[in-house]
């Protein structure tokens, strides 16, 4: 099992991996929690001109002047570029303006479908989760989206109990048939490694393993026979500068503490 490494906590590793998925100048629909930090980190490092969109009705292109725990914190409104309606920023999403977005997940399957609504146990409701929020919208309408979640066997299942946020459904062609205009998950960043999706079959493929983790660990914690890339890599550890910035962004380690 992955744990905190010498250099950093596991959460820090995941946030840095998330940040690296953002290219400079991209328009990013920023979610809550770890993705929020990932976006702020990217802005402060390799993607200074990335633009952040928040579903509350916020557009900003500079980091908040102070650490924030959530997107509605007042420093995130301070000197924003635009404060507006949810339907305006959701319009930007729906009309194809958003390059990349981030979603946390409770349960995911081999085609990247996500469940954050209902966990079933022998056909009966076992756990009610908070629901979609904006996740269903982001998964359907961004040009691509990135999933961030804990890698545990009961979360990585053959088929999710409920599709809150569509991935590739049952494989190639499914999104188009459903009527979705674009997009799909491009990466799954977990506590053990990073998965991407086969461009043809749309099935999840392990492409990177975190420090101190083995492929065996990952297969043992995945509920189906996870495909492994021929070009399997080690997830690069955060640079010193990335860690420095990240610790400024979350000084009390609320999100990224061990």
């Amino acid at each position: 099992m992955a744990t905190d490494t010498d250099c950093c906590t596991l959460s820090e590793l995941m946030v840095v991996a998330a940040a690296r998925e953002i290219a400079d100048r991209e328009v990013v629909f920023v979610g809550m929690r770890l993705p929020l930090l990932g976006f702020l980190l990217a802005k402060r490092t390799h993607a200074p001109d990335a633009v952040g969109i928040y579903e509350l009705g916020i557009v900003r292109d500079s980091p908040a002047p102070e650490p924030i725990l959530t997107m509605g914190d007042l420093p995130n409104l301070f000197k924003a570029k635009w404060l507006s309606d949810t339907s305006d920023v959701m319009g930007l999403l729906q009309n194809g303006t958003i390059d990349v977005s981030f979603i946390g997940g409770a349960q995911v399957d081999r085609f990247g479908n996500l469940n954050t609504s209902y966990i079933m146990s022998s056909e009966k409701l076992a756990t009610r989760l908070p629901g979609s929020g904006g996740a269903c919208d982001l998964a359907g309408l961004s040009k691509r989206h990135i999933i961030i979640m804990a890698h545990e066997k009961h979360r990585f299942v053959t088929k999710v109990d409920y599709i809150t946020s569509p991935g590739y459904g049952n494989g190639a062609g499914w999104r188009e048939k459903a009527g979705l205009p674009r997009g799909g998950p491009s990466a799954v960043i977990t506590s053990l490694g990073i998965m991407r999706f086969d461009p043809v079959s749309k099935e999840m493929v392990l492409v990177s393993i975190h420090p101190d983790v083995t492929a065996r660990n990952i297969l043992d914690n995945t509920g189906w026979q996870l495909k492994i890339s021929d070009m399997l890599e080690k997830t690069p550890v955060p640079t010193e500068y990335e860690l420095k910035v990240l610790r400024e962004l979350d000084p009390e380690g609320y999100w990224t503490g061990s």
């Binding site: 725990l69 309606d85 959701m90 756990t127 908070p130 629901g131 979609s132």
Partner: protein, 304 residues
């Protein structure tokens, strides 16, 4: 020819406009300006069988559910923004006591926009491929009459009441609202009654100096309530920051029904007025949450 004042007490406003069984939209700017004071009055009045509507609610919906006031929720997300799941909500849904209509933020926004625009539905591209259609009968798939493509039709929501916390209002219901706006404007226009709770009651001159800042036309507002700190622990632009600790503490204070009962006694039932609430918060907390770094808007001229 001075119009009649709409300024009444919180208790009176909710007595008058929120009967048992009412459909209420609240928490319309998502994480900011959540009308906690009004929500707590709903709990104190032991309303029953309400339907709560909103995109996300942070912990307010969980509290009202815990008080046994809610029969149904139409929302995209119910939980605690910085800690995750919320317990009363989980218990109620898992126990079969609470009906849930599952939305996304975009479908809630479109349902309220349809209500505001007076049309029976709005089209959207979201939801397609998801299971929202299985747990939300107000979504249907339709074929676009122009492109032939599949779309999601989102049925209009016209709540009985919108409860909105605003920064400042005159006594006639003309209120300034700033910061991120969420679905607030459409929620007001879609609703039969609008209750404004405000940090400050100001003279009409203040409001009239900036009509673009008004969130909804005053002639549509039914009641105005003076409710300082009325959105705590959520943040209010111009007034106070988010009280993160309150959200973290609520998580443990709602873990069991017994713990929640005690929390509700202390923070809801034993609180009668804004003053009681501020006293309970304590001076240290109040001071710590107030704004330190100010940024005043550059004026604009509405002259002629």
């Amino acid at each position: 020819m001075a119009p009649a004042s709409k300024l009444i007490t919180l208790s009176e406003a909710l007595n008058r406009y929120v009967p048992d069984g009412a459909e209420i939209v609240m928490g319309t700017s998502l994480e900011t300006l959540i009308p906690f004071a009004a929500g707590h009055e709903i709990m104190r009045q032991r309303k029953r069988n309400l339907t709560l509507i909103g995109p996300i609610s942070d912990i307010l919906f969980d509290q009202i559910v815990g008080a046994g006031c809610v029969g149904k929720i139409r929302a995209a997300w119910v939980g605690n923004v910085i800690t995750g799941s919320s317990y009363n909500f989980r218990r109620a849904v898992e126990g079969g006591d609470l009906k849930m209509e599952d939305h996304s933020n975009l479908t809630v926004a479109m349902a309220l926009k349809a209500g505001a625009m007076g049309v029976p539905f709005m089209p959207a591209l979201t939801g397609l491929g998801s299971d929202l259609f299985k747990t939300n009968t107000s979504l249907k798939k339709i074929t676009c009459p122009f492109t032939g493509k599949t779309l999601t039709a989102v049925s209009a929501i016209n709540p009985d009441v919108a409860i909105i916390h605003a920064q400042r209002s005159d006594e006639y219901g003309n209120a300034h609202f700033w910061g991120n706006l969420g679905v607030t404007s459409d929620a007001c226009l879609a609703s039969r009654y609008i209750i404004i709770t405000a940090e400050e009651i100001v003279s009409p001159d203040v409001i009239e100096s900036d009509p673009n800042r008004v969130i909804t036309p005053g002639f549509r507002v039914s009641a105005v309530v003076h409710a300082p700190w009325g959105a705590h622990p959520s943040p209010v632009p111009g007034y106070y920051n988010r009280d993160h600790n309150a959200f973290i503490e609520y998580r443990s204070n709602s873990k069991t029904p017994q713990k929640f009962e005690k929390w509700m006694r202390d923070w809801v039932d034993n609180v009668k007025t804004s003053d009681d609430y501020i006293r309970l918060l304590g001076n240290e907390r109040v001071v710590k949450l107030k704004l330190i770094n100010h940024l005043l808007s550059e004026p604009v001229d509405y002259g002629y």
